[in-house]
Each structure stands twice: as structure tokens, then as C-alpha cells.
């Protein structure tokens, strides 16, 4: 097939002359998006939204294949990245899990096996309760109840020893309370458990609980951000996301605990390919599809690329390592 031979030749040229072809790198075969979550999970939706934004707006004309590698809380995805070193036709979608997972578990990959591409958006965390079942209406009531009966407030979340449970330990420490964490497979499961009155609270992202809020079976108490969320559209009870107080305002001194939605490539991909993907992701974020996704999830539109992203990773990883150490979760401590 001569056309393939030609492309192969062109590809060799590109690799040989990186300087000359810096902006010219283009994928010439299907690109695989590997999501570090099962179908329907937060990261899966994230990857598929980017996929739809790119293909609908014809920003990427080669086919995009989304694959799920959720095993080992998503570690499978990054181990896969390690085995595809230098392959520029695969992108890996995750959260902070890419660098947090190796802290608590013995895994064969490390951050060195990944090339950071970008963090596209941040998901805030909110403290939710079921006002009817628990009788808790605000953060004061929550703290009072927690102090009254230590260990009796059950807080659900997605998975163990990850963002949700870490956040709970931060709440405990800053308020001097004792809560009990109950891990579920996903945040939506924890949402239903709160709505059904089986547990007291959860720390879901807005999108995981917003429907229950509208139905009156969950109520947001405070958001773990330094500033209130921007969206002023009324959602339920005459309240908008903007009316939810920050947790610092409300009395829980946990200033900022957002979850980045991150994109990675394998280590050692050609720098021009990295440049191409960074630009591609910047374009994707500007599409109406992605804007709609941000709005639905009340996400914080903060995109990080290049050195800013690398700095962020370093700091975020260090802060997680510190929290893990305090909780006795570091793998070395086992």
C-alpha cells in the first residue's frame, strides 16, 4: 500500500527533524483515550466529553477510541501507559489518582512513566446531607451532631483511601470530631445512600448529587473551595451554587480541595506530539460541548498546562503525601 508507505516515510521525517516540524505533528492513525474508570464513572464521562467535543467540532479527524481500564482503582490505566512508553497515539484520562495511587499501594509505575499534558478543569467537593432524615440544616448543626455522638455520623464516599476519605479526615481534624467513613464503589452510590437516609453525609462533586438536591433529599452544606462557586442560576430551594457557603465561611477550616481532571501521555513521546495535544486540549476546552459539561458539573474552569501543571502536580502530590502520612496510609508505613 503506497499511501501507507508514504505516511510512514513522512512520519520518519517528522521524527528526524523535530525543530522544523514542531507545529506539524498530526496523528495519522486512531487515537486511543484510556479512561482510568469504569463506564459511567466520572473520569469516563470526562474522557467521552472530550471525545465528543473533538469529533463534533472536527478538531481531531482521525477516529478516537475510548477504552476503560478501571482495574486497581484506575492503576491499570497508568501501568498500561508505562508499557506503551513513547507511543504518541494514546492519551490517559484521570484525576489526581495518577500520582496519588502509588502513595498507598505498591505499584509498578511511577510519575516518571507519564508525561503530563494538561488539567482541563477542576471538580469542587461539597458536603451534602439529607436534611429530612438527619435533621441537619447547616454546617453548625453538622458539627454539633458530630460532637454529640462521636463516630455516629456515617460519611459515605467513593472508594477507600482516596480523595473522599482524605477529605473526611481533614474535616475531622479541623473540627475536632470523629466521623465514620463508609466506602462505596462510586459517588453516585453514596448519593443514593444519603438520599435514602441510610448514611448521614457524603462529600460528592456537584454533578453526583445535584439531582437529589433538586428532589429535596440532599442539601449542600458548604463547598471546599476558597471562593464560592460562580454559577448564580437557581437550582433548588431558591438556591444557586453561588449561595452555597464556602466551608471556611461556615466553620470547617478546609480551604481548598478540588479534584483536577487530568490528561496524560506516556513517557518519552516526541515533544511536538506533546505540543500538539496541549494545543488540542486547549481547543477542546473552548468548545460548547465542554462548556456544557463544566456548567452541568458546576466545575471550576481552571486549565493548567506545561510548567504550571507540573508545579501543580508537585505541590498536590506533596500535600497528599503529607495527609497520607498523617493518616498512616503511606505504603512504607505498612
Amino acid at each position: 500500500m503506497p499511501s501507507h508507505a508514504l505516511t510512514a516515510f513522512a512520519l520518519t521525517l517528522t521524527v528526524a527533524l523535530p525543530g522544523a516540524a514542531l507545529a506539524e505533528w498530526q496523528p495519522n492513525r486512531p487515537v486511543e483515550f484510556v479512561a482510568a474508570a469504569g463506564p459511567g464513572g466520572g473520569t469516563d464521562t470526562f474522557a467521552r466529553v472530550v471525545q465528543s467535543a473533538l469529533s463534533k467540532n472536527e478538531l481531531l479527524t482521525t477516529p478516537i477510541i475510548v477504552a476503560n481500564k478501571a482495574g486497581g482503582s484506575g492503576a491499570e490505566t497508568f501501568i498500561y501507559a508505562k508499557s506503551n512508553k513513547g507511543d504518541p497515539y494514546k492519551l490517559y484520562f484521570g484525576t489526581q489518582d495518577a500520582y496519588v495511587l502509588p502513595l498507598a499501594n505498591k505499584l509498578s509505575y511511577s510519575l516518571k512513566d507519564l508525561t503530563p499534558v494538561a488539567a482541563l478543569v477542576f471538580d469542587p467537593f461539597i458536603l451534602w446531607v439529607n436534611p429530612k432524615a438527619s435533621g441537619i440544616e447547616d454546617v453548625k448543626g453538622f458539627i454539633a451532631k458530630a460532637k454529640e455522638a462521636p463516630g455516629q455520623i456515617k460519611l459515605g464516599g467513593a472508594k477507600a483511601k482516596e480523595a473522599d476519605e482524605t477529605l473526611m479526615t481533614l474535616i475531622e481534624r479541623s473540627t475536632g470530631t470523629d466521623l465514620t467513613y463508609i466506602p462505596y464503589k462510586s459517588g453516585s452510590e453514596a448519593a443514593i445512600q444519603v438520599a435514602g437516609g441510610h448514611i448521614t453525609a457524603n462529600v460528592n462533586n456537584p454533578s453526583e448529587s445535584v439531582e437529589q438536591w433538586k428532589a429535596g433529599v440532599q442539601k449542600p452544606l458548604c463547598v471546599f473551595e476558597s471562593e464560592r462557586l460562580a454559577d448564580k442560576t437557581v437550582i433548588a430551594d431558591g438556591m444557586s451554587w453561588n449561595d452555597v457557603p464556602t466551608c471556611v465561611e461556615a466553620g470547617i477550616n478546609v480551604p481548598s480541595f478540588a479534584q483536577p481532571r487530568t490528561v496524560w501521555a506516556a513517557a518519552d513521546i516526541p515533544p511536538e506530539a506533546l505540543a500538539y495535544y496541549v494545543e488540542l486540549m486547549t481547543k477542546a476546552v473552548a468548545t460548547p460541548e465542554f462548556k456544557g459539561y463544566e456548567e452541568r458539573g458546576a466545575q471550576i474552569p481552571r486549565m493548567l498546562t506545561g510548567d504550571a501543571f507540573k508545579d501543580f502536580i508537585k505541590k498536590h502530590e506533596a500535600s497528599y503525601a503529607e495527609m497520607y502520612k498523617a493518616n498512616g496510609w503511606l505504603k512504607a508505613a505498612e
Binding site: 500500500m1 501507507h4 508507505a5 486512531p30 477510541i65 497515539y89
Partner: protein, 159 residues
């Protein structure tokens, strides 16, 4: 070359008991206690124990049961048939891991058609080509599930 049923019963039960032992050992690394609810290794540990118990009882039952001593699990000829069927599948896996699934399935189909089924060479070649083509269209084109390509297809620019 005949393998008696009792031999096989005992061998299998030993194998399952060994698996049970591995499970128990693995569980001890997660903590097997009960601390306001089971620790991560609690259930796996007792599951491993139950596997061992079940296997041991099966061994005892086999040894005590005299009636079926003469039962044959598999005779030499049948064993050869089964092995002759299974070895090519292992070869298929080995080749696939090395040269990609399409090359693997082409070689395997050709072998199965030519040697096992006894078709003529060109019929076997034709079948192999059809099998590869059908799978390629279904997986790569219709459902866009990339199968393992391997260095040969990569060289020809098929990814």
C-alpha cells in the same frame, strides 16, 4: 498411559488445596481479624481454609471409596487427542503475543484446516484469509476495537 479417575481425583484435590493454601497466605498479608467488622483478609482467609477442608475431605472420600478404583479418567489415545488440540491453542497464544492476533489466527486457522481437518492447501489458505478478513472488518472497522497488531502489520502500516 491411562490415568485412573482416582489418581486424578487426588491430584485435583491436592491442587485445589494448594490454591487454598495460597489464598490463606495471601489473606494473612491483609489482616485476618475481626475489628468492628471483618478486616480485608478475614473472608479470604476462611475461604482459603474451606477450600483446604473441602479438598481434604474429597481426598479421604476417594481413598475410602473402593468401587470405582478401576474407573479411568482418560486413556492414552484420548489424552493425545486432547493435547493435540490444546497445544496449537497455546502456540496461537504465543504467536499472538509476539506477532499480533491477526498473524496468530491466520497461522492457526491454516494449521487447523490443513493438518487437523485435512483440507487441501489452497482451501486452508483461503479459509485463513477469510477468517482474518472477517475479524478485521468486525473489530477494526465496525466496532473500532483495536486487536493486538504486532510488528509485522505495523511494518506494513496497518495499525
Amino acid at each position: 498411559m491411562d490415568i485412573s479417575r482416582n489418581t486424578m481425583e487426588v491430584a485435583t484435590a491436592c491442587a485445589t488445596a494448594a490454591v487454598g493454601g495460597i489464598v490463606c497466605y495471601g489473606a494473612t498479608q491483609n489482616g485476618i481479624g475481626w475489628n468492628d467488622g471483618p478486616e480485608p483478609g478475614y473472608f479470604p482467609f476462611y475461604i482459603g481454609c474451606l477450600i483446604i477442608v473441602g479438598s481434604l475431605v474429597t481426598i479421604v472420600q476417594t481413598v475410602l471409596r473402593r468401587t470405582s478404583v478401576a474407573d479411568i479418567f482418560i486413556d492414552g489415545e484420548r489424552l493425545r487427542t486432547v493435547v493435540a488440540f490444546f497445544l496449537p491453542i497455546m502456540a496461537l497464544t504465543l504467536v499472538s503475543a509476539w506477532l499480533g492476533l491477526y498473524v496468530g489466527m491466520a497461522l492457526y486457522t491454516f494449521y487447523a484446516m490443513r493438518v487437523s481437518a485435512g483440507f487441501r492447501t489452497h482451501t486452508a489458505l483461503f479459509t485463513a484469509a477469510i477468517v482474518v478478513a472477517v475479524n478485521f472488518v468486525i473489530f477494526e472497522k465496525i466496532f473500532m476495537v483495536p486487536l493486538l497488531k504486532g510488528p509485522i502489520l505495523e511494518y506494513f502500516g496497518i495499525y
